[in-house]
Protein backbone atom coordinates (compact mmCIF):
# COMPACT_ATOMS: atom_id res chain seq x y z
CA UNK A 1 0.00 0.00 0.00
CA UNK A 2 1.26 3.45 -0.87
CA UNK A 3 1.92 5.73 2.03
CA UNK A 4 -0.31 8.77 1.62
CA UNK A 5 1.09 11.88 3.20
CA UNK A 6 -1.67 13.75 4.99
CA UNK A 7 -1.81 17.49 4.44
CA UNK A 8 -2.05 20.05 7.24
CA UNK A 9 -0.20 18.42 10.12
CA UNK A 10 -0.96 19.71 13.63
CA UNK A 11 0.52 23.16 14.23
CA UNK A 12 -0.28 26.85 13.90
CA UNK A 13 -2.38 28.22 11.03
CA UNK A 14 -4.16 31.46 10.25
CA UNK A 15 -7.56 29.82 9.91
CA UNK A 16 -8.70 26.27 10.59
CA UNK A 17 -11.77 24.97 8.76
CA UNK A 18 -13.54 21.94 10.22
CA UNK A 19 -15.66 19.91 7.79
CA UNK A 20 -15.51 18.64 4.21
CA UNK A 21 -19.16 18.97 3.24
CA UNK A 22 -20.15 21.54 0.62
CA UNK A 23 -19.50 24.43 3.02
CA UNK A 24 -16.06 23.23 4.15
CA UNK A 25 -15.04 22.75 0.51
CA UNK A 26 -16.34 26.17 -0.53
CA UNK A 27 -14.54 27.84 2.38
CA UNK A 28 -11.32 25.94 1.61
CA UNK A 29 -11.49 27.01 -2.02
CA UNK A 30 -11.98 30.68 -1.08
CA UNK A 31 -9.19 30.70 1.53
CA UNK A 32 -6.71 29.36 -0.98
CA UNK A 33 -7.91 31.78 -3.64
CA UNK A 34 -7.37 34.72 -1.30
CA UNK A 35 -4.03 33.40 -0.14
CA UNK A 36 -4.92 33.03 3.53
CA UNK A 37 -2.85 30.54 5.52
CA UNK A 38 -5.20 27.76 6.57
CA UNK A 39 -5.82 24.09 7.33
CA UNK A 40 -8.89 21.98 6.55
CA UNK A 41 -9.79 19.04 8.79
CA UNK A 42 -12.55 16.49 8.51
CA UNK A 43 -13.69 13.45 10.43
CA UNK A 44 -14.78 11.89 7.12
CA UNK A 45 -12.63 9.83 4.78
CA UNK A 46 -13.70 11.64 1.60
CA UNK A 47 -15.39 14.87 0.45
CA UNK A 48 -19.17 15.36 0.38
CA UNK A 49 -20.17 15.70 4.04
CA UNK A 50 -23.76 14.82 4.75
CA UNK A 51 -24.41 13.91 1.13
CA UNK A 52 -22.23 10.81 1.52
CA UNK A 53 -25.13 9.24 3.45
CA UNK A 54 -28.19 11.53 3.41
CA UNK A 55 -30.95 12.06 2.42
CA UNK A 56 -31.96 8.50 3.35
CA UNK A 57 -34.25 8.08 0.37
CA UNK A 58 -31.62 9.34 -1.99
CA UNK A 59 -33.25 12.34 -3.64
CA UNK A 60 -32.40 16.00 -3.05
CA UNK A 61 -34.92 18.82 -3.05
CA UNK A 62 -32.74 21.46 -4.76
CA UNK A 63 -32.56 21.67 -8.55
CA UNK A 64 -29.82 21.45 -11.14
CA UNK A 65 -31.08 22.06 -14.67
CA UNK A 66 -28.59 20.84 -17.27
CA UNK A 67 -30.29 22.96 -19.93
CA UNK A 68 -30.57 26.71 -19.43
CA UNK A 69 -30.45 29.93 -21.45
CA UNK A 70 -26.96 30.63 -20.07
CA UNK A 71 -23.72 28.73 -20.56
CA UNK A 72 -22.50 26.38 -17.83
CA UNK A 73 -19.96 28.29 -15.81
CA UNK A 74 -21.53 31.70 -16.30
CA UNK A 75 -22.67 33.51 -13.20
CA UNK A 76 -26.23 33.52 -14.52
CA UNK A 77 -26.19 29.74 -14.83
CA UNK A 78 -25.82 29.46 -11.05
CA UNK A 79 -29.52 30.38 -10.86
CA UNK A 80 -30.29 27.18 -12.74
CA UNK A 81 -27.86 25.03 -10.76
CA UNK A 82 -28.40 25.19 -7.01
CA UNK A 83 -26.07 22.32 -6.16
CA UNK A 84 -22.66 23.13 -7.65
CA UNK A 85 -20.09 24.97 -5.61
CA UNK A 86 -18.91 28.24 -7.10
CA UNK A 87 -15.49 28.97 -8.56
CA UNK A 88 -13.50 31.39 -10.69
CA UNK A 89 -11.83 28.89 -12.99
CA UNK A 90 -14.01 27.44 -15.69
CA UNK A 91 -12.96 23.86 -15.08
CA UNK A 92 -14.33 23.94 -11.52
CA UNK A 93 -17.64 25.53 -12.42
CA UNK A 94 -21.06 23.89 -12.78
CA UNK A 95 -19.72 20.48 -11.69
CA UNK A 96 -23.21 19.06 -11.23
CA UNK A 97 -24.56 19.85 -14.68
CA UNK A 98 -22.94 16.97 -16.55
CA UNK A 99 -23.53 14.43 -13.76
CA UNK A 100 -27.33 14.54 -13.87
CA UNK A 101 -28.90 11.42 -15.37
CA UNK A 102 -32.01 13.54 -16.07
CA UNK A 103 -34.53 11.29 -14.34
CA UNK A 104 -35.44 14.43 -12.38
CA UNK A 105 -34.19 18.01 -12.29
CA UNK A 106 -33.04 17.41 -8.71
CA UNK A 107 -29.97 15.21 -8.25
CA UNK A 108 -29.84 11.88 -6.50
CA UNK A 109 -27.71 11.71 -3.36
CA UNK A 110 -25.05 9.79 -5.28
CA UNK A 111 -24.94 12.40 -8.05
CA UNK A 112 -24.55 15.13 -5.44
CA UNK A 113 -21.75 13.28 -3.66
CA UNK A 114 -19.99 12.77 -7.00
CA UNK A 115 -20.39 16.45 -7.88
CA UNK A 116 -18.76 17.58 -4.65
CA UNK A 117 -15.93 15.07 -5.04
CA UNK A 118 -15.37 16.32 -8.59
CA UNK A 119 -15.17 19.91 -7.39
CA UNK A 120 -12.64 18.97 -4.71
CA UNK A 121 -10.56 17.09 -7.25
CA UNK A 122 -10.67 19.66 -10.07
CA UNK A 123 -9.92 22.49 -7.65
CA UNK A 124 -7.12 20.43 -6.10
CA UNK A 125 -8.45 21.04 -2.61
CA UNK A 126 -6.50 19.50 0.21
CA UNK A 127 -8.23 18.20 3.32
CA UNK A 128 -6.84 16.30 6.26
CA UNK A 129 -9.37 13.48 6.28
CA UNK A 130 -9.91 11.17 9.22
CA UNK A 131 -9.09 13.96 11.66
CA UNK A 132 -11.68 14.60 14.34
CA UNK A 133 -12.01 17.87 16.23
CA UNK A 134 -12.67 16.92 19.85
CA UNK A 135 -12.26 19.94 22.11
CA UNK A 136 -11.59 23.67 22.01
CA UNK A 137 -9.65 26.19 24.09
CA UNK A 138 -9.31 29.92 23.90
CA UNK A 139 -5.65 30.81 24.44
CA UNK A 140 -6.04 34.58 24.45
CA UNK A 141 -4.62 35.11 20.96
CA UNK A 142 -6.88 32.67 19.24
CA UNK A 143 -8.06 29.12 19.54
CA UNK A 144 -6.57 25.71 20.11
CA UNK A 145 -8.46 22.80 18.58
CA UNK A 146 -7.70 19.44 20.09
CA UNK A 147 -8.12 16.76 17.45
CA UNK A 148 -7.56 13.03 17.05
CA UNK A 149 -4.30 13.95 15.25
CA UNK A 150 -3.02 16.58 17.68
CA UNK A 151 -3.43 20.29 18.42
CA UNK A 152 -4.15 23.05 15.91
CA UNK A 153 -3.70 26.72 16.82
CA UNK A 154 -5.37 29.46 14.82
CA UNK A 155 -6.45 33.10 14.86
CA UNK A 156 -9.95 32.28 13.63
CA UNK A 157 -11.83 29.06 13.14
CA UNK A 158 -14.59 28.22 10.67
CA UNK A 159 -16.88 25.41 11.76
CA UNK A 160 -18.51 23.86 8.68
CA UNK A 161 -19.74 20.89 10.67
CA UNK A 162 -23.29 20.75 9.28
CA UNK A 163 -26.57 20.27 11.11
CA UNK A 164 -27.06 16.51 11.01
CA UNK A 165 -26.73 15.27 14.57
CA UNK A 166 -30.11 13.75 15.43
CA UNK A 167 -32.13 15.96 17.73
CA UNK A 168 -35.07 14.48 19.58
CA UNK A 169 -37.71 16.45 21.42
CA UNK A 170 -37.82 15.84 25.19
CA UNK A 171 -40.85 13.51 24.91
CA UNK A 172 -40.94 10.63 27.43
CA UNK A 173 -40.45 7.36 25.57
CA UNK A 174 -39.22 8.92 22.34
CA UNK A 175 -35.83 7.42 23.10
CA UNK A 176 -37.32 4.03 22.09
CA UNK A 177 -38.08 5.34 18.60
CA UNK A 178 -35.79 5.18 15.60
CA UNK A 179 -34.53 8.57 14.42
CA UNK A 180 -34.76 9.59 10.75
CA UNK A 181 -31.06 8.81 10.32
CA UNK A 182 -31.63 5.20 11.50
CA UNK A 183 -34.27 4.45 8.88
CA UNK A 184 -32.89 2.17 6.22
CA UNK A 185 -35.06 0.54 3.59
CA UNK A 186 -38.71 1.21 2.84
CA UNK A 187 -39.50 -2.50 2.37
CA UNK A 188 -38.64 -3.13 6.00
CA UNK A 189 -41.94 -1.39 6.78
CA UNK A 190 -43.95 -3.84 4.66
CA UNK A 191 -47.48 -4.07 6.11
CA UNK A 192 -46.64 -2.07 9.22
CA UNK A 193 -48.37 0.77 10.98
CA UNK A 194 -45.92 3.65 11.35
CA UNK A 195 -46.17 6.76 13.52
CA UNK A 196 -43.86 9.60 12.45
CA UNK A 197 -43.14 12.41 14.93
CA UNK A 198 -42.60 15.56 12.86
CA UNK A 199 -44.04 17.30 9.84
CA UNK A 200 -41.07 18.90 8.20
CA UNK A 201 -38.97 17.84 5.19
CA UNK A 202 -37.50 14.70 6.71
CA UNK A 203 -40.89 13.50 8.05
CA UNK A 204 -42.46 13.89 4.63
CA UNK A 205 -39.48 12.29 2.92
CA UNK A 206 -39.92 9.17 5.06
CA UNK A 207 -43.73 9.14 4.78
CA UNK A 208 -43.59 9.49 1.03
CA UNK A 209 -41.10 6.65 0.69
CA UNK A 210 -43.14 4.33 2.93
CA UNK A 211 -46.42 4.90 1.08
CA UNK A 212 -46.05 1.81 -1.16
CA UNK A 213 -45.20 -0.40 1.85
CA UNK A 214 -46.78 0.68 5.12
CA UNK A 215 -50.32 -0.29 6.13
CA UNK A 216 -50.92 2.97 7.93
CA UNK A 217 -48.90 6.17 8.32
CA UNK A 218 -49.56 8.95 10.84
CA UNK A 219 -47.54 12.17 10.94
CA UNK A 220 -47.97 14.31 14.03
CA UNK A 221 -46.47 17.52 15.38
CA UNK A 222 -47.86 20.51 17.25
CA UNK A 223 -47.82 23.00 14.44
CA UNK A 224 -50.41 22.93 11.71
CA UNK A 225 -49.33 22.60 8.08
CA UNK A 226 -50.00 25.80 6.21
CA UNK A 227 -50.70 25.01 2.61
CA UNK A 228 -50.22 28.66 1.65
CA UNK A 229 -46.66 28.54 2.98
CA UNK A 230 -45.96 25.08 1.57
CA UNK A 231 -46.25 26.50 -1.94
CA UNK A 232 -43.11 28.57 -1.30
CA UNK A 233 -41.06 25.87 0.44
CA UNK A 234 -38.68 23.34 -1.14
CA UNK A 235 -41.03 20.62 0.09
CA UNK A 236 -43.37 21.43 -2.75
CA UNK A 237 -41.01 19.82 -5.24
CA UNK A 238 -41.33 16.44 -3.60
CA UNK A 239 -42.97 14.42 -0.90
CA UNK A 240 -46.43 15.95 -1.01
CA UNK A 241 -48.23 12.70 -1.80
CA UNK A 242 -48.88 11.93 1.92
CA UNK A 243 -50.56 15.33 2.34
CA UNK A 244 -52.63 14.73 -0.76
CA UNK A 245 -53.84 11.39 0.59
CA UNK A 246 -54.68 12.93 3.96
CA UNK A 247 -56.64 15.78 2.43
CA UNK A 248 -58.69 13.33 0.35
CA UNK A 249 -59.90 11.49 3.43
CA UNK A 250 -56.86 10.01 5.06
CA UNK A 251 -57.39 6.37 4.14
CA UNK A 252 -54.10 4.97 5.31
CA UNK A 253 -52.39 8.32 5.80
CA UNK A 254 -53.21 10.88 8.48
CA UNK A 255 -51.59 14.19 9.30
CA UNK A 256 -52.41 15.40 12.80
CA UNK A 257 -51.81 18.66 14.66
CA UNK A 258 -50.99 17.35 18.09
CA UNK A 259 -48.28 17.50 20.68
CA UNK A 260 -46.95 14.04 21.46
CA UNK A 261 -47.10 13.65 25.24
CA UNK A 262 -45.55 10.23 25.77
CA UNK A 263 -44.75 6.99 24.01
CA UNK A 264 -45.15 3.59 25.67
CA UNK A 265 -43.57 0.44 24.45
CA UNK A 266 -45.65 -2.74 24.78
CA UNK A 267 -45.69 -6.33 23.57
CA UNK A 268 -47.41 -5.33 20.30
CA UNK A 269 -45.34 -2.30 19.50
CA UNK A 270 -46.01 1.25 20.67
CA UNK A 271 -48.83 3.30 22.14
CA UNK A 272 -48.55 7.01 21.44
CA UNK A 273 -50.46 9.54 23.57
CA UNK A 274 -51.11 12.88 21.93
CA UNK A 275 -53.07 16.04 22.63
CA UNK A 276 -54.51 18.32 19.97
CA UNK A 277 -53.13 21.75 19.25
CA UNK A 278 -55.45 23.04 16.52
CA UNK A 279 -58.33 21.05 18.11
CA UNK A 280 -59.16 20.03 21.68
CA UNK A 281 -58.66 16.70 23.34
CA UNK A 282 -56.49 13.59 23.48
CA UNK A 283 -55.90 11.01 20.76
CA UNK A 284 -54.16 7.65 21.25
CA UNK A 285 -52.43 5.66 18.51
CA UNK A 286 -51.30 2.02 18.53
CA UNK A 287 -48.60 1.30 16.01
CA UNK A 288 -45.75 -1.05 15.09
CA UNK A 289 -43.04 1.59 14.67
CA UNK A 290 -42.33 5.13 15.78
CA UNK A 291 -39.90 7.26 13.76
CA UNK A 292 -38.58 10.53 15.21
CA UNK A 293 -38.30 12.98 12.33
CA UNK A 294 -37.70 15.69 14.90
CA UNK A 295 -34.81 17.33 13.16
CA UNK A 296 -31.12 17.85 13.68
CA UNK A 297 -28.62 19.96 15.53
CA UNK A 298 -25.11 21.16 14.82
CA UNK A 299 -22.41 18.97 16.45
CA UNK A 300 -20.90 21.78 18.52
CA UNK A 301 -18.82 19.60 20.88
CA UNK A 302 -17.73 21.81 23.80
CA UNK A 303 -18.45 25.16 22.13
CA UNK A 304 -21.35 26.05 24.42
CA UNK A 305 -19.01 25.58 27.38
CA UNK A 306 -16.61 27.97 25.67
CA UNK A 307 -19.45 30.51 25.70
CA UNK A 308 -20.94 30.08 22.23
CA UNK A 309 -24.60 31.15 22.40
CA UNK A 310 -27.14 28.92 20.70
CA UNK A 311 -30.81 29.12 19.79
CA UNK A 312 -33.63 26.59 19.41
CA UNK A 313 -32.68 24.42 22.38
CA UNK A 314 -28.95 24.34 21.56
CA UNK A 315 -29.49 23.23 17.98
CA UNK A 316 -27.98 26.18 16.12
CA UNK A 317 -25.21 28.65 17.09
CA UNK A 318 -26.42 32.27 17.04
CA UNK A 319 -24.38 34.39 14.63
CA UNK A 320 -23.80 37.96 13.54
CA UNK A 321 -24.25 39.17 9.97
CA UNK A 322 -20.70 37.91 9.15
CA UNK A 323 -21.50 34.49 10.63
CA UNK A 324 -19.42 35.02 13.76
CA UNK A 325 -20.63 33.70 17.10
CA UNK A 326 -22.65 36.46 18.82
CA UNK A 327 -20.79 35.71 22.04
CA UNK A 328 -17.29 34.39 21.15
CA UNK A 329 -15.48 36.55 18.57
CA UNK A 330 -13.19 34.61 16.23
CA UNK A 331 -15.49 31.60 15.98
CA UNK A 332 -17.21 31.55 12.59
CA UNK A 333 -19.65 29.19 10.91
CA UNK A 334 -20.23 28.08 7.34
CA UNK A 335 -22.85 25.88 5.71
CA UNK A 336 -26.17 24.74 7.01
CA UNK A 337 -25.43 26.27 10.43
CA UNK A 338 -25.49 29.78 8.92
CA UNK A 339 -29.26 29.62 9.40
CA UNK A 340 -28.23 31.03 12.79
CA UNK A 341 -27.67 34.40 11.10
CA UNK A 342 -31.14 35.11 9.73
CA UNK A 343 -30.48 38.64 8.46
CA UNK A 344 -33.08 41.39 8.35
CA UNK A 345 -36.09 39.04 7.88
CA UNK A 346 -37.91 41.85 6.11
CA UNK A 347 -41.57 40.88 5.76
CA UNK A 348 -40.62 37.58 7.38
CA UNK A 349 -38.52 36.59 4.36
CA UNK A 350 -36.03 33.87 5.27
CA UNK A 351 -32.69 33.21 3.62
CA UNK A 352 -31.55 30.12 1.73
CA UNK A 353 -28.63 29.71 4.12
CA UNK A 354 -29.74 26.17 5.01
CA UNK A 355 -29.08 24.83 1.53
CA UNK A 356 -26.08 24.75 -0.79
CA UNK A 357 -27.48 27.35 -3.19
CA UNK A 358 -27.44 30.01 -0.45
CA UNK A 359 -24.57 29.07 1.82
CA UNK A 360 -22.05 28.71 -1.03
CA UNK A 361 -22.27 32.53 -1.29
CA UNK A 362 -22.22 33.02 2.48
CA UNK A 363 -18.93 31.07 2.61
CA UNK A 364 -17.45 33.23 -0.11
CA UNK A 365 -18.43 36.45 1.66
CA UNK A 366 -17.25 35.08 5.00
CA UNK A 367 -13.75 34.30 3.69
CA UNK A 368 -13.48 37.68 2.02
CA UNK A 369 -14.34 39.24 5.40
CA UNK A 370 -11.92 37.02 7.36
CA UNK A 371 -9.11 37.74 4.92
CA UNK A 372 -9.56 41.49 5.21
CA UNK A 373 -10.25 41.66 8.94
CA UNK A 374 -7.62 39.26 10.26
CA UNK A 375 -5.01 39.04 7.49
CA UNK A 376 -5.04 42.44 5.75
CA UNK A 377 -5.96 40.87 2.43
CA UNK A 378 -8.29 43.43 0.88
CA UNK A 379 -10.62 42.26 -1.88
CA UNK A 380 -10.32 43.98 -5.25
CA UNK A 381 -12.67 46.96 -5.42
CA UNK A 382 -12.68 47.90 -9.10
CA UNK A 383 -13.63 51.39 -10.27
CA UNK A 384 -17.06 51.82 -11.82
CA UNK A 385 -17.34 54.50 -14.50
CA UNK A 386 -20.06 56.95 -13.44
CA UNK A 387 -21.89 56.61 -16.75
CA UNK A 388 -21.91 52.81 -16.31
CA UNK A 389 -23.25 52.75 -12.75
CA UNK A 390 -26.97 52.51 -13.52
CA UNK A 391 -26.56 49.83 -16.19
CA UNK A 392 -24.25 47.85 -13.92
CA UNK A 393 -26.71 47.92 -11.01
CA UNK A 394 -29.74 47.07 -13.15
CA UNK A 395 -27.91 44.13 -14.70
CA UNK A 396 -27.03 42.86 -11.23
CA UNK A 397 -30.61 43.26 -10.06
CA UNK A 398 -31.86 41.30 -13.04
CA UNK A 399 -29.38 38.41 -13.01
CA UNK A 400 -27.03 38.26 -10.00
CA UNK A 401 -27.45 34.78 -8.47
CA UNK A 402 -26.36 35.98 -5.01
CA UNK A 403 -29.13 38.58 -4.92
CA UNK A 404 -31.77 36.25 -6.32
CA UNK A 405 -31.00 33.24 -4.15
CA UNK A 406 -30.28 35.19 -0.97
CA UNK A 407 -33.16 37.66 -1.32
CA UNK A 408 -33.14 40.48 1.19
CA UNK A 409 -29.99 38.90 2.68
CA UNK A 410 -27.04 39.58 0.38
CA UNK A 411 -26.67 42.81 -1.57
CA UNK A 412 -24.27 44.46 -4.01
CA UNK A 413 -22.61 47.65 -2.88
CA UNK A 414 -20.97 50.52 -4.75
CA UNK A 415 -19.04 52.97 -2.56
CA UNK A 416 -18.12 56.55 -3.19
CA UNK A 417 -14.35 56.50 -2.60
CA UNK A 418 -11.81 59.32 -2.78
CA UNK A 419 -10.92 58.38 -6.37
CA UNK A 420 -14.42 57.64 -7.66
CA UNK A 421 -17.03 54.91 -7.47
CA UNK A 422 -15.81 51.52 -6.34
CA UNK A 423 -17.61 48.21 -6.63
CA UNK A 424 -17.51 46.73 -3.13
CA UNK A 425 -18.95 43.43 -4.31
CA UNK A 426 -21.43 41.18 -2.53
CA UNK A 427 -21.96 41.64 1.23
CA UNK A 428 -24.71 41.03 3.79
CA UNK A 429 -27.47 43.64 3.49
CA UNK A 430 -27.52 43.78 7.28
CA UNK A 431 -23.92 45.04 7.25
CA UNK A 432 -24.82 47.79 4.80
CA UNK A 433 -27.73 49.09 6.88
CA UNK A 434 -26.07 48.70 10.30
CA UNK A 435 -22.37 49.49 9.87
CA UNK A 436 -21.01 52.97 9.23
CA UNK A 437 -19.26 53.56 5.92
CA UNK A 438 -18.72 55.96 3.05
CA UNK A 439 -21.65 57.33 1.08
CA UNK A 440 -22.78 54.43 -1.04
CA UNK A 441 -25.63 52.57 -2.64
CA UNK A 442 -26.63 48.95 -2.27
CA UNK A 443 -29.10 46.89 -4.25
CA UNK A 444 -31.02 43.79 -3.25
CA UNK A 445 -33.85 41.65 -4.54
CA UNK A 446 -36.67 41.42 -2.02
CA UNK A 447 -40.03 39.81 -1.56
CA UNK A 448 -43.15 41.51 -0.21
CA UNK A 449 -45.44 39.75 2.25
CA UNK A 450 -47.78 38.76 -0.60
CA UNK A 451 -44.94 37.07 -2.51
CA UNK A 452 -44.27 39.87 -5.01
CA UNK A 453 -40.59 40.06 -5.91
CA UNK A 454 -39.18 43.56 -6.38
CA UNK A 455 -35.78 45.27 -6.65
CA UNK A 456 -34.73 47.49 -3.74
CA UNK A 457 -32.18 50.28 -3.55
CA UNK A 458 -30.53 51.45 -0.32
CA UNK A 459 -28.66 54.73 -0.16
CA UNK A 460 -26.22 55.65 2.57
CA UNK A 461 -25.45 59.34 3.02
CA UNK A 462 -23.48 60.54 6.05
CA UNK A 463 -24.22 57.18 7.68
CA UNK A 464 -27.97 57.45 7.33
CA UNK A 465 -29.53 54.70 5.26
CA UNK A 466 -32.76 55.15 3.31
CA UNK A 467 -34.54 52.43 1.36
CA UNK A 468 -36.28 52.81 -1.99
CA UNK A 469 -38.28 49.93 -3.45
CA UNK A 470 -38.44 49.93 -7.27
CA UNK A 471 -41.37 48.56 -9.29
CA UNK A 472 -41.75 44.83 -9.73
CA UNK A 473 -41.91 43.41 -13.24
CA UNK A 474 -43.97 40.36 -14.30
CA UNK A 475 -40.88 38.73 -15.88
CA UNK A 476 -38.43 40.25 -13.38
CA UNK A 477 -36.89 42.30 -16.15
CA UNK A 478 -35.42 45.25 -14.33
CA UNK A 479 -33.48 46.61 -17.28
CA UNK A 480 -36.44 48.70 -18.48
CA UNK A 481 -36.52 52.44 -19.18
CA UNK A 482 -38.72 52.97 -16.13
CA UNK A 483 -36.23 51.25 -13.83
CA UNK A 484 -33.36 53.09 -15.46
CA UNK A 485 -35.04 56.42 -14.86
CA UNK A 486 -35.99 55.65 -11.26
CA UNK A 487 -32.53 54.36 -10.37
CA UNK A 488 -30.76 57.26 -12.12
CA UNK A 489 -32.67 59.73 -9.98
CA UNK A 490 -31.81 57.83 -6.82
CA UNK A 491 -28.07 57.55 -7.45
CA UNK A 492 -27.78 61.07 -8.81
CA UNK A 493 -26.39 62.46 -5.51
CA UNK A 494 -23.60 59.85 -5.63
CA UNK A 495 -22.77 60.68 -9.23
CA UNK A 496 -22.87 64.39 -8.48
CA UNK A 497 -19.97 63.96 -6.08
CA UNK A 498 -17.65 62.11 -8.49
Amino acid sequence: MAVVELPFPPGAYGVVVVGSGPAGLQAAYELRRRGVDHAVLSADEAPGGMFRTLPIFERLISWTKPEAPYAHGSREYELYDHNSLVADEERCQACMASLMDRTYDVPSRAEMEAGLARFAELAGLRVRYGCRWEATRNDGEGFVLETSDGEYRCRAVVFAVGVTTPWTAPIPGLEHAAHYVDVRRADEYDGRSVFIVGKRNSAFEVANSLLPWARRIVLASPRAIRTDVLGHSPLRTRYLQPLDEHVRGGFGTSIVDASVERIERNADGFRVHTRGTSWDGPLVFDCDDVIAATGFRAPLQDLTRLGVTTVADERIPAQTAFWESVSVPGIYFAGNATLGSPGLRKQGLSSNSGSVNGFRYNARVLVRHLAEKHFDVAPPRPLVEPDQLVSFLLRELATAPELWIQKGYLCRIVNLAADGLRDDGILPLQIFVDEPGPDACAIAVEMAADGTIYPAVYLRARNRVAEHPLSPHPLHDYETEEHRRALSELVDPLLGST
Binding site: G276, T304, R305, V311, D313, R345
Partner: protein, 140 residues
Protein backbone atom coordinates in the same frame (compact mmCIF):
# COMPACT_ATOMS: atom_id res chain seq x y z
CA UNK B 1 -21.99 28.37 31.34
CA UNK B 2 -25.34 27.51 32.88
CA UNK B 3 -27.61 25.46 30.67
CA UNK B 4 -30.62 27.40 29.55
CA UNK B 5 -34.19 26.30 30.18
CA UNK B 6 -35.86 24.72 27.17
CA UNK B 7 -37.56 27.09 24.77
CA UNK B 8 -41.02 25.84 25.79
CA UNK B 9 -40.20 26.34 29.49
CA UNK B 10 -38.93 29.83 28.75
CA UNK B 11 -42.12 30.67 26.84
CA UNK B 12 -44.16 29.31 29.75
CA UNK B 13 -42.49 31.85 32.07
CA UNK B 14 -43.18 34.78 29.73
CA UNK B 15 -46.18 36.80 30.90
CA UNK B 16 -47.49 37.36 27.37
CA UNK B 17 -47.99 33.60 27.02
CA UNK B 18 -49.10 32.88 30.60
CA UNK B 19 -52.57 31.70 29.53
CA UNK B 20 -51.40 29.17 26.93
CA UNK B 21 -51.53 25.43 27.61
CA UNK B 22 -48.45 23.27 27.24
CA UNK B 23 -49.47 21.94 23.78
CA UNK B 24 -50.18 25.51 22.67
CA UNK B 25 -46.76 26.63 23.90
CA UNK B 26 -45.17 23.74 22.02
CA UNK B 27 -46.95 24.83 18.87
CA UNK B 28 -45.57 28.37 19.31
CA UNK B 29 -42.05 27.01 19.86
CA UNK B 30 -42.39 24.87 16.73
CA UNK B 31 -43.73 27.57 14.52
CA UNK B 32 -41.57 30.52 15.39
CA UNK B 33 -37.82 31.03 15.60
CA UNK B 34 -35.72 32.07 18.50
CA UNK B 35 -32.99 34.54 17.57
CA UNK B 36 -30.02 35.74 19.60
CA UNK B 37 -28.30 39.08 19.03
CA UNK B 38 -24.79 40.21 19.87
CA UNK B 39 -24.11 43.16 22.18
CA UNK B 40 -24.80 46.36 20.24
CA UNK B 41 -26.57 44.63 17.36
CA UNK B 42 -29.69 46.34 16.03
CA UNK B 43 -32.91 44.34 16.15
CA UNK B 44 -35.35 46.97 14.83
CA UNK B 45 -34.25 49.82 12.65
CA UNK B 46 -35.89 53.21 12.74
CA UNK B 47 -37.36 54.00 9.33
CA UNK B 48 -36.62 50.65 7.69
CA UNK B 49 -39.69 48.73 6.52
CA UNK B 50 -40.75 45.14 7.09
CA UNK B 51 -39.85 44.35 10.70
CA UNK B 52 -41.23 41.58 12.92
CA UNK B 53 -42.78 41.28 16.38
CA UNK B 54 -40.16 40.36 19.01
CA UNK B 55 -40.70 38.99 22.51
CA UNK B 56 -37.65 39.16 24.81
CA UNK B 57 -36.89 35.72 26.27
CA UNK B 58 -33.61 36.64 27.91
CA UNK B 59 -31.38 39.71 28.13
CA UNK B 60 -32.06 43.42 27.70
CA UNK B 61 -32.39 46.02 24.96
CA UNK B 62 -32.48 49.77 24.66
CA UNK B 63 -34.96 51.80 22.64
CA UNK B 64 -33.23 54.58 20.75
CA UNK B 65 -34.85 57.33 18.72
CA UNK B 66 -32.64 59.62 16.65
CA UNK B 67 -29.64 58.24 18.55
CA UNK B 68 -31.15 59.15 21.92
CA UNK B 69 -32.00 56.44 24.43
CA UNK B 70 -35.66 56.67 25.40
CA UNK B 71 -36.41 53.39 27.18
CA UNK B 72 -35.06 50.01 28.25
CA UNK B 73 -36.67 46.66 27.75
CA UNK B 74 -36.17 43.37 29.56
CA UNK B 75 -37.34 39.80 29.76
CA UNK B 76 -41.01 39.39 28.85
CA UNK B 77 -41.24 42.76 27.06
CA UNK B 78 -42.16 42.85 23.40
CA UNK B 79 -41.52 45.32 20.59
CA UNK B 80 -42.23 45.82 16.90
CA UNK B 81 -46.01 45.70 17.40
CA UNK B 82 -46.55 49.41 16.81
CA UNK B 83 -44.96 49.34 13.41
CA UNK B 84 -46.91 46.22 12.46
CA UNK B 85 -50.28 47.48 13.70
CA UNK B 86 -49.84 50.90 12.10
CA UNK B 87 -48.28 49.42 8.95
CA UNK B 88 -45.36 51.81 8.99
CA UNK B 89 -41.64 51.43 9.59
CA UNK B 90 -40.40 51.30 13.21
CA UNK B 91 -40.22 54.64 14.95
CA UNK B 92 -37.09 53.72 16.92
CA UNK B 93 -34.02 51.53 16.89
CA UNK B 94 -33.96 48.60 19.29
CA UNK B 95 -30.39 47.67 20.22
CA UNK B 96 -29.25 44.59 22.14
CA UNK B 97 -27.55 45.25 25.46
CA UNK B 98 -25.43 42.17 25.99
CA UNK B 99 -26.55 38.97 24.29
CA UNK B 100 -30.30 39.22 23.71
CA UNK B 101 -32.62 36.27 23.05
CA UNK B 102 -35.99 36.90 21.39
CA UNK B 103 -38.88 34.96 19.94
CA UNK B 104 -39.56 36.30 16.45
CA UNK B 105 -43.05 36.44 14.95
CA UNK B 106 -42.65 37.62 11.36
CA UNK B 107 -44.83 40.51 10.31
CA UNK B 108 -47.06 38.56 7.88
CA UNK B 109 -47.90 36.03 10.64
CA UNK B 110 -48.69 38.48 13.44
CA UNK B 111 -52.38 39.02 12.70
CA UNK B 112 -53.14 35.31 12.46
CA UNK B 113 -50.98 34.63 15.51
CA UNK B 114 -53.03 37.05 17.62
CA UNK B 115 -56.45 36.15 16.23
CA UNK B 116 -55.81 32.49 16.97
CA UNK B 117 -54.75 33.36 20.53
CA UNK B 118 -57.16 35.97 21.94
CA UNK B 119 -55.71 35.63 25.47
CA UNK B 120 -52.30 36.66 24.16
CA UNK B 121 -53.92 39.58 22.36
CA UNK B 122 -55.64 40.67 25.58
CA UNK B 123 -52.37 40.57 27.50
CA UNK B 124 -50.72 42.60 24.79
CA UNK B 125 -53.52 45.16 24.93
CA UNK B 126 -53.09 45.40 28.71
CA UNK B 127 -49.39 46.00 28.35
CA UNK B 128 -50.07 48.71 25.74
CA UNK B 129 -52.63 50.34 28.05
CA UNK B 130 -50.08 50.39 30.85
CA UNK B 131 -47.48 51.95 28.58
CA UNK B 132 -49.98 54.58 27.47
CA UNK B 133 -50.96 55.38 31.06
CA UNK B 134 -47.30 55.67 31.98
CA UNK B 135 -46.78 58.15 29.16
CA UNK B 136 -49.86 60.21 30.04
CA UNK B 137 -48.89 60.41 33.71
CA UNK B 138 -45.40 61.41 32.77
CA UNK B 139 -46.67 64.18 30.50
CA UNK B 140 -49.14 65.63 33.06
Amino acid sequence: METRASLVDTLAQTSLFADLSRPELEAVAHEFDEEAFAEGQRVLRQGLSGSSLYVILDGAAVVRRDDEEIARLGRGDFFGEISILTEGPPTSDIVAEGVLHCLVIPRPDVERFLLERPRVMLRMLRAEANRLRGMLEWQS
